[in-house]
């Protein structure tokens, strides 16, 4: 399978402190390889540098050192519009991703601006409608509404529709399901899985929830303090973790039908 994304020794050091003297190593030598149509879970506790990795991949911050190769080319050498057409992000809080003054349609129509030659309004409408139907949303129910009229799950689904409309290749989902309730979360996870199955879209799924990572991922990277401490196929890492920290972490995860011993 072809590699879609390759990160080589990605490092990010933030400088803080009163006179900019205190370096904080947020991400240290992260190397990751992502194949087309693969879901990789980036798992770690808060402050482990997961989101910083995502931000670097999305070109929102520049890495201090290291390279991001996307489809064989350095990510920084892409034209911004083309890059964001091929990589899309889904964020944690669907409510803050929308402008409350505009109808939700705008979020879907805006993505067409990433194309060099814009399709005509009629074509846009057709594409939006067919995409929404493909992911199981009734366009009549959603289009023309304002963000506050929709539930968190519906808004999050619309954000997932964006990469589909423009045929993106990679979706970076940063805690995309953390704010949702269990019953809606299951729907979003299944939708992401179907993206992979049906559209061969790769997903970088960033989460602190081990259960979700196990459910969705093909491969997993465990992060601690900015470093990747364990990585491998999910069926190996989740069943036979080798790193002591990973083991401890997995032991603390509450399981549905097994009680902890106190």
């Amino acid at each position: 399978m072809e590699t879609i994304l390759h990160c080589e020794n990605l490092t990010k050091i933030f400088i803080s402190g009163l006179i900019r003297t205190k370096p904080i190593v947020a991400v240290k030598n992260v190397t990751l390889d992502m194949k087309k149509g693969e879901i990789i879970a980036l798992v770690g506790q808060s402050g482990s540098g997961k989101t910083t990795v995502a931000k670097m991949i999305l070109r929102l911050i520049k890495p201090t050192s290291g390279q991001i190769i996307f489809n064989g080319k350095n990510a920084l050498s892409y034209d911004k519009r083309e890059y964001y057409r091929r990589i899309q992000a889904i964020v944690q809080d669907p409510y803050s991703a929308y402008n409350p003054f505009y109808k939700v349609d705008r979020v879907l129509e805006e993505v067409f601006n990433l194309y060099e030659n814009n399709p005509s309004p009629d074509e846009r409408k057709k594409i939006i409608h067919s995409t929404l139907e493909r992911i199981g949303i009734n366009p009549e129910e959603i289009l023309g509404r304002y963000p506050h009229q929709l539930s968190g799950g519906q808004l999050q689904r619309l954000l997932i529709a964006r990469p589909l409309i423009i045929n993106s290749e990679l979706v970076v989902a940063d805690e995309a399901t953390s704010m949702l309730d269990a019953s809606t979360r299951a729907g979003i996870l299944n939708l992401l899985l179907s993206l992979k199955e049906n559209e061969r879209i790769s997903v970088l799924f960033i989460t602190h929830d081990i259960a979700q990572a196990q459910y969705i991922s093909d491969r997993v990277l465990m992060m601690q303090n900015g470093e990747v401490i364990e990585q491998g196929p999910s069926d190996r890492v989740f069943i036979h973790p080798s790193n002591p920290y990973t083991k401890e972490l997995f032991d603390s995860v509450p399981q549905l039908r097994k009680k902890w011993k106190f």
Partner: protein, 328 residues
């Protein structure tokens, strides 16, 4: 002697509505629940189902927009909305029941050391002048039972991690050994390892006899499963099912509980689970204008005609299980 056993906490047909310019939100609408001594009762539900509102009402001091409408909350046989507020404040709060609201770990005073904060609480609650050394000694002993170091007393809140702050807050609210502790989402903002520590310390508190019963509110049924004896499932401002924790997980009766459990992602260290999760179609009800009769009927796959016209009462169906559904 009183022959009838008195429940530690007895909630009878409780109603609490939010009233504001947005209209009336029936957040808690006819809830009945009991908790006995030595019991850990969990309340689970999705956001907007009224579980935090229920906890606030149980605390006796609901937030300004929330109005206690009707019903009873009996703590040790005393109706907390009937007795003199001053008696309630000095004799019931903290002494018999204690309430830890959501996100309370950020409620520590940032410019005070933990020990000074505890001193303030002690003076305010007892109304006496207490010797510092004595208070610090008891407080230190108390925090040690929660798995914290005595040195925490000398720290400022910003020097503590989230899990430590949460345990300090739990420590402060159990200083007077309340019989009942109501705790609202104590672990939602914590990492899994700290979550386990906090839950462990709660269980230890109960084992040490500092608290007798616990009312634990969470949206995460996997967490509840770790420590609860009994579990109440809330939906749309009502309790739909009360059962032992094991039965709720393994043999849920109400269609909503069944759907909720089949939508929970759970970690399994033995085998990989792929697929099989089901989401519940539709959205939770708007409690300003809830659906008539059974509030789950628009999303229920077993909905019958009666579900739209008559509200199912919460009734015992077999030993210990109570369910509000026309199927049973």
């Amino acid at each position: 002697m009183i022959s009838k056993t008195i429940h530690l906490l007895e909630i009878k047909d409780l109603r609490g509505y939010y009233r504001g310019i947005f209209g009336v939100v029936r957040a808690v609408d006819g809830v009945s629940l009991t908790a006995d001594c030595g019991e850990v009762v969990g309340i689970v539900g999705e956001s907007g189902c009224g579980k935090s509102t229920l906890a606030q009402l149980c605390s006796g001091s609901p937030s300004p927009l929330l109005h206690y409408e009707s019903g009873k909350i009996l703590v040790n046989g005393v109706d907390i909305y009937k007795i003199d507020p001053e008696v309630f404040r000095t004799e019931v709060k903290c002494q018999i029941m204690s309430y830890i609201p959501q996100a309370s770990m950020d409620s520590l005073n940032p410019v005070k050391r933990v020990r000074d904060f505890i001193m303030d609480v002690m003076i305010e609650r007892t109304g006496q002048k207490l010797s510092k050394s004595e208070v610090f000694k008891t407080a230190g002993d108390h925090l040690e039972k929660l798995g914290l170091d005595r040195g925490v007393l000398d720290r400022y809140p910003h020097e503590l991690s989230g899990g430590m702050k949460q345990r300090v807050v739990i420590g402060i609210s159990t200083l007077f050994h309340p019989k009942l502790l109501t705790i609202d989402e104590p672990t939602s903002a914590l990492d899994v390892t700290t979550q386990k520590l906090v839950i462990k310390s709660l269980v230890n508190l109960k084992k040490a006899g500092i608290i007798e019963s616990l009312l634990f509110i969470s949206h995460d049924i996997t967490v509840l499963g770790q420590l609860c004896d009994r579990c109440a499932v809330m939906y749309g401002g009502k309790i739909v099912e009360v059962d032992t924790m094991d039965d709720t997980l393994n043999n849920p009766l109400h269609p909503y509980t069944q759907a909720l459990i089949s939508s929970v992602v759970s970690y399994d260290p033995e085998k990989m689970v792929k697929g099989g999760l089901k989401s519940i179609p539709g959205a939770p009800p708007d409690l300003r204008d809830p659906p008539p009769a059974c509030r789950f009927h628009p999303r229920c796959e077993y909905a019958m005609d009666i579900c739209q016209t008559k509200e199912p009462p919460l009734e015992a169906v077999k030993d210990g299980s109570e369910v509000a559904c026309w199927l049973y």
